[in-house]
Amino acid sequence: MNVSISNILDQIIASIPLFKPELSLIIGFIVCIFTALFLEKRWKNSTFIACMLTLGVALYHLLAQLSTTGTGFSGMWLIDPWSIYARLVVLASTGIIAIFLQQRHPKNNGDIYAVLLATTLGIHVLSATSNWLMAFIGIEMVSIGSYVMVGYFSRNKAQSEAAMKYVLFGSVCAAVMLYGLSLVYGLTGNLDFTSAAHLKGLIDAPQAIITLGLLFVFAGIGFKLSFVPFHVWSPDVYQGAPTAITAFLSTIPKVGAIILFARLYQSWSSTAFYFSELSSWFIIIVALVTMLVGNLAALRQQDVKRMMAYSSIGHTGLLLMAVFAYQDIFSYLLFYIVAYVLMNLATFIFIDEIEQQTGSTSLSSYAGLGKKMPLLFTAFTLVAVSLIGIPPTIGFVAKLMVFTSTFSIFQSSGGTGSLLLLIVGALTSVISLFFYFKIPLYAFLRGNDNPIPSVVNRKQVSVMLFIAYLLTILVILFGIFPNWLMEMVS
């Protein structure tokens, strides 16, 4: 390899065009810091506008990349359909989160936009690389940004506790992952997990060390994806963080992490050697346990946000199943991601809207609210139906596609693992009915014995609610005509 400085510089300069969306995010990040420091006092919302503009510019550059492929920065940066569409989803939902923040936390919010942009940058890195170094930087950027966001608006002990828990757990996982990476690097001498040298190193390495290294690496990704047994932080953090931040945490970082994991799994499971088998058994077992634990634990929850935390753990199990079933076309994994993001964003906006009106996120406080806010709860119920995976919603189509691809693996290889995945996947949807339907159960079926006085009785049309209804319409529309979405992504 030619390592002369001029060559490296040429390589970097040639790679810049591929990096435009991220560059705009970096510039936006700096601009946001400045506006938050100097402009925010005089001109309210200036940081928000700067943030939205940044996202717009990044989106513009990203759209220009559509249907191109390429690698940059000596193979560290990948532009392929996965990374393009994943980043599209990330940018669009970050925009929604930014509006969410602006609506809910109008005061003293300058820096949060800068942090949001930095975190988004981290997710971009995660979804566009197959290099361990980049991946680790991405994970850390997302993590540190998320720590700040969880603690940023903390007003009481529970919220600070959530932030603290998140930081501690996150740092330990990152350290473990780094140790695992050092083992993997030591065994292979190559940081690109798709390269032949990397795979060869893993094939030759002793089994005990590989087991240790792989499990350590998975621990770090597991923390971001919150699959079992690295899920314990998520219920506390989801409940403790402000709803807008929870909406962010439950959706966008997972997109980056799942894309990274899919790339990793795809390259590691491609051989017939010990580490491939280990990875597939790992993913099967973790998917099974995650689906079961997420859905069963959600049954007992009395707080909606906590329940949604377990629900998103359950959905992570299905996402892992989608990763496991990945063959040669990525569209259905992406379809599941889009479905998941749509549903979760809508859910958290609804939760927040109700919280604004009643001041509570406990399920029992929803009693009888269906009469007061019929439209909101009808839409909420539809989204819940989609989360269960009942037609005619996007959740059903997404689930069907995951089942379809898993079944094709089962038919061709006849493994017990894939059969178990199918059965458990189907049964957990029945289990999930119990807790998702607590929402309409309380809202429509239960009467309201002691009327909760509305804390704020705002009459103006809420922007967030409008967005949530839009998302709900998309949930139904893509459920009936999945073609429209699939043609966009393939």
Binding site: G414, L433, L441, F444, L445, N483, M486
Partner: protein, 534 residues
């Protein structure tokens, strides 16, 4: 847009109309619902009148009538192949009578909802969505489409029972939902399996088309549900048997069979009268219809192997349901159990695999559809008036409500299978079919037919005993004078709903050819499909 699509989606228009109208137009909702269901009934009768009875249907698309086929979802899934989902609807002799029945029962349901005051907007909107789903289930010929309608049906029912139901409505609603969803998610896995096993011969793509699934030639060799050279198994059980059992399980929950019936009494007791009518009148038939259309037609080989067991389940349901009905103190619960018993005949008839038996089973479904609707309506009459329906709380109602007593007596006699009424034809044909089964060597022994006859006897006992307990003798009511005043005789609206139904029971009892005529070709086609495997 063809007539069948109009029939399916007309209620959806009604839903939108109801939702669009402001709350001040409250009184209009029920008239909208009534108007639309009336048009639907007219439309379905028109279809019935223009049906060509000589065409069989079952596995031949060109023998279906009023067919509409539109490409709906086409997805390229790489190595998995192309996903091919059609909007494909059509009717044959098996589905059309049930569609007419559904529109009729739906009209009765709307009529019985006249006094609903609790948020009528939501109520009628949900009722109309349910209506769309039900007609959709009976006409869908694409498995994906069928499944979508099947699941869409659950949501409005959950809310109809859960919001407008009785005391323990939450429990009943979620129990009903869980039972059905459990069956249907497992069904989804089999649908996916079938999808991978079947190829559309015209395009070479995998397909959800049910009719392609019925043709053994379309199965890929070595695929999961392949007819020949199939070495797949699930925990040691052959794959095709597993597929059949899972699908049967899903539909048997709906029928319902013993021991999967326990949701039914709860749902019926807690549901408001109109929903009970629709539950018994239409939804139980979806179970029977699904077994014929899906289980027996797609897995004819397994159907031929397992029919002894299915007939046994049928006989068990007949007897167990009847004995339970005998022991009930709640009138509505008694009728719910009598439904279990009567639907057992459907299963026995189908399993007999004779032309008489299968025709009898479908006839029994139609007959039980409107008769049980009438019975639940009659229960609703006294429940509306005094909010009580315990058999022992009433005595000597005959002198208080003579017209009501007359209607109840006719409905009871019709249901217990008195010759001259429709239930007699249905049950008699099922028994004949089951008797002949042994000589046709389809594997159903004679003693099962005898078991079925005992069921008819038991139904006479519980119906007549109830009639005697509640209506004859000295008038004695639990609620005293207050009840005596509340228990007024039938009003015009109630008579307008009941009279045509009981007249229909008589009409079909005397002229069963009205149904059998359109049914025959399809039933023979079905028997031909299964016969090679016997």
């Amino acid at each position: 847009m063809g007539l069948l699509s109009i029939l399916i989606f007309l209620p959806l228009v009604a839903t939108l109309l109801i939702l669009a109208l402001p709350a001040s137009a409250k009184a209009a909702y029920k008239y909208i619902a009534l108007g639309f269901t009336f048009v639907q009934l007219g439309l379905s009768l028109y279809l019935y009148g223009n049906f060509n009875a000589s065409l069989g249907g079952i596995q031949q698309l060109d023998a279906y009538q009023f067919v509409e086929q539109l490409a709906w979802i086409r997805l390229d899934l790489g190595t998995i192949g192309k996903l091919e989902i059609d909007y494909l609807v059509g009717v044959d002799g098996i589905s059309l009578p049930l569609i007419v029945l559904s529109t009729l029962v739906m009209l009765m349901g709307v009529g019985a909802s006249w006094n609903i005051n609790k948020s009528p907007k939501g109520y009628f909107a949900l009722l109309m969505i349910l209506n769309t789903a039900v007609i959709g289930i009976f006409s869908a010929l694409d498995f994906f489409l069928f499944y979508v309608f099947y699941e869409v049906m659950l949501l409005p029912l959950y809310f109809l029972i859960g919001i407008w139901g009785g005391e323990r409505r939450e429990y009943a609603a979620i129990k009903f939902f869980i039972y059905t969803l459990l069956g249907s998610v497992l069904m989804l896995l089999v649908i996916v399996g079938l999808y991978f096993s079947v190829i559309n011969p015209a395009t070479g793509a995998h397909t959800f088309n049910m009719l392609h699934m019925m043709n053994p030639a379309n199965y890929v060799d070595g695929s999961f549900f392949a007819h020949i050279a199939n070495y797949h198994d699930v925990f040691g059980i052959p794959a095709r048997l597993v597929g059949f059992i899972v699908l049967f399980f899903a539909f048997a929950i709906k029928v319902p069979i013993v021991p999967l019936h326990t949701w039914l009494p709860d749902a019926h007791v807690e549901a408001p009268t109109p929903v009970s009518i629709i539950l018994a009148g239409i939804l139980l038939k979806i179970g029977g219809y699904g077994i014929i259309r899906v289980c027996y037609s797609i897995f004819p080989d397994i159907a031929a192997d397992t029919n002894w067991w299915i007939a046994l389940i049928g006989v068990l349901s007949i007897l167990y349901g009847a004995f339970n009905a005998l022991a009930q103190k709640d009138l509505k619960r008694m009728i719910a159990y009598s439904s279990v018993s009567h639907m057992g005949f459907v299963l026995l008839g189908i399993a007999s695999l004779t032309a008489e038996g299968v025709s009898g089973a479908i006839f029994q479904m139609v007959s039980h559809g409107f008769l049980s609707a009438a019975l639940f309506f009659l229960v609703g009459v006294i429940y509306d008036r005094v909010h009580d329906r315990y058999i022992y709380h009433f005595r000597g109602l005959a002198s208080l409500m003579p017209k009501y007593t007359a209607y109840v007596a006719i409905a009871f006699f019709a249901s217990l299978g008195l010759p001259g009424f429709s239930a007699f034809i249905g049950e008699a044909f099922v028994i004949i079919g089951a008797f002949n089964a042994e000589s046709m060597s389809t594997g159903v022994p004679r003693w099962m037919a005898i078991g079925g006859s005992i069921g008819i006897l038991l139904s006479a006992i519980y119906f007549l005993w109830t009639l005697q307990r509640m209506f004859f003798g000295q008038t004695r009511l639990q609620g005293g004078v207050a009840w005596q005043e509340a228990l007024t005789d039938l009003n015009t609206r109630e008579q307008v709903i009941l009279f045509p139904v009981l007249a229909l029971a008589l009409l079909l009892g005397i002229m069963p050819s009205l149904i059998f005529g359109n049914l025959n070709a399809s039933v023979l086609q079905l028997i031909d499909l299964i016969k090679p495997y016997l």
